[in-house]
């Protein structure tokens, strides 16, 4: 159970996320973000427990990068913090199409560029469980294609991808599992 502001946002949740793509659907405010943040360890559980193998990579619906730093500095910091000092940050940022602006401070980038920089963490921080919250927001067509490829690559590598979105319903066909959050409960349709 997850309680925020004295309101039970999620209750009676019991789910196991294995390798492959798991898509979480639900109306606005249903608790999709809270579920992902609970998996990431960012919200305390009022009751129950969670078990995650390794440290998940959580990319929220905001970029989660420090605006005073450039994408390169942000990604190098996060990779080093995770112990991935040899991560190819420059290569990852170039492959996401922001090589030319990777040394520009975050506040001078567009929302789409900041989103691309955040998603480049998929290449620099390998994790068994990847949590993506509305990853398609702010992306142009090229970046959408790049993100779909990145998700497919992660799945091919045996990673578990848990993605919350209310867009791109065609993804449901590729998903290993589909979870729907309604009235604070997680259901399998």
């Amino acid at each position: 159970m997850v309680v925020l502001d004295d309101r039970a946002v999620l209750r009676n949740v019991s789910c196991e996320i294995g390798p492959g793509l798991t898509v979480v659907r639900g109306d606005n405010g249903a608790g999709k973000t809270t579920l992902l943040r609970a998996f990431a360890g960012l919200v305390p559980l009022a009751r129950g427990s969670r078990q995650v193998e390794g440290t998940p990579l959580y990319i929220g619906h905001r970029p989660m990068l420090l605006r005073g730093l450039s994408p390169r500095e942000n990604l190098a910091f996060l990779a080093a913090f995770r112990g991935e000092r040899a991560a190819d940050v420059v290569g990852a940022l170039r492959s996401w199409g922001i090589g030319e602006v990777m040394d520009r401070p975050g506040e001078r980038l567009s929302a789409g560029q900041r989103r691309r920089a955040a998603l480049a963490r998929l290449d620099t921080e390998p994790a068994r469980l990847v949590l993506l919250d509305e990853p398609f927001a702010d992306l142009d067509v090229d970046a959408l294609v790049r993100l779909r490829a990145a998700i497919n690559n992660a799945i091919a590598r045996g990673q578990s991808v848990l993605m919350a979105t209310h867009l791109h319903h065609e993804l449901d066909q590729d998903a290993t599992r589909l979870l729907v959050i309604r009235d604070g409960e997680v259901r399998t349709p």
């Binding site: 960012l42 919200v43 305390p44 440290t55 929220g60 913090f81 401070p105």
Partner: protein, 220 residues
């Protein structure tokens, strides 16, 4: 733990170097306080060791709060802090790294304000090395409490008001020790200066340990 603390501290310093909002605000604020002190009290009273050191430490306390406030504002923008908190050891490192960075930046402000006060008020320092020791320990004793309270009030909307209301009463013993110790160093009382320095070191140790112990559970 130490590696990660240093990483966070470096990240803070880099961000502050690129956009020195906190540092500039703190330098301006302390500079103005020192200037206004001599105007408001007159040069004679403003030069008295206990008055000069008291006003100096109050200015440093407010400055450190400003710098810390700006640091947390920056981290809450775009949820940047969550990227660190979601990593193992992230909560400890955020606390300890911010304490180290705040100590460094406040140290810079204290040196600038101290030099300005010495020149503007024509202060004669009887024990300069004791003064440097007290400055260092005073800052080391302030930073853990200010960051700890900011962490506890992280998601509070009125954080700007809440932090001083909670932190300043907690910091009263440190403020007294720093003020009395600095006054003793200015007037040449080595025994008193070292006594107050020891007290500041104890405060620094207690609050650093307390912070590292409770912060992991306190941060949401």
């Amino acid at each position: 733990m130490i590696d990660r603390t240093l990483l966070v501290a470096l990240r803070e310093v880099f961000a502050e170097r690129r956009h020195p909002d906190g540092l500039v605000a703190a330098l301006t604020f302390t500079g103005m306080v020192v200037l206004l002190e001599s105007l408001a009290l007159g040069p004679g009273r403003a030069r008295q060791p206990d008055v000069a050191s008291g006003i100096f430490w109050i200015a440093i306390l407010f400055s450190a709060t400003l710098v810390s406030q700006r640091s947390f504002d920056r981290d809450l923008e775009d949820d940047a802090i969550d990227a660190v908190l979601a990593l193992p050891g992230g909560r400890d490192a955020i606390y300890a790294g911010k304490v180290v960075a705040l100590g460094m930046i406040t140290g810079l402000v204290a040196v600038a304000a101290g030099v300005m006060a010495i020149l503007l008020l024509s202060l004669e320092i009887a024990l300069p090395l004791h003064l440097v020791l007290l400055l260092a320990l005073g800052i080391v004793a302030l930073a853990p409490v200010i960051v700890l309270v900011h962490v506890l009030a992280l998601r509070v909307r009125a954080r700007v008001a809440v932090v001083p209301i909670i932190a300043f009463p907690m910091l009263t013993p440190q403020l007294v020790a720093a003020t009395q110790g600095t006054a003793a160093a200015i007037s040449g009382d080595a025994t008193a200066a070292l006594g107050w320095a020891g007290l500041l070191a104890a405060f620094a140790l207690v609050y650093t340990v307390l912070g590292v112990t409770i912060v992991p559970a306190a941060i949401e």
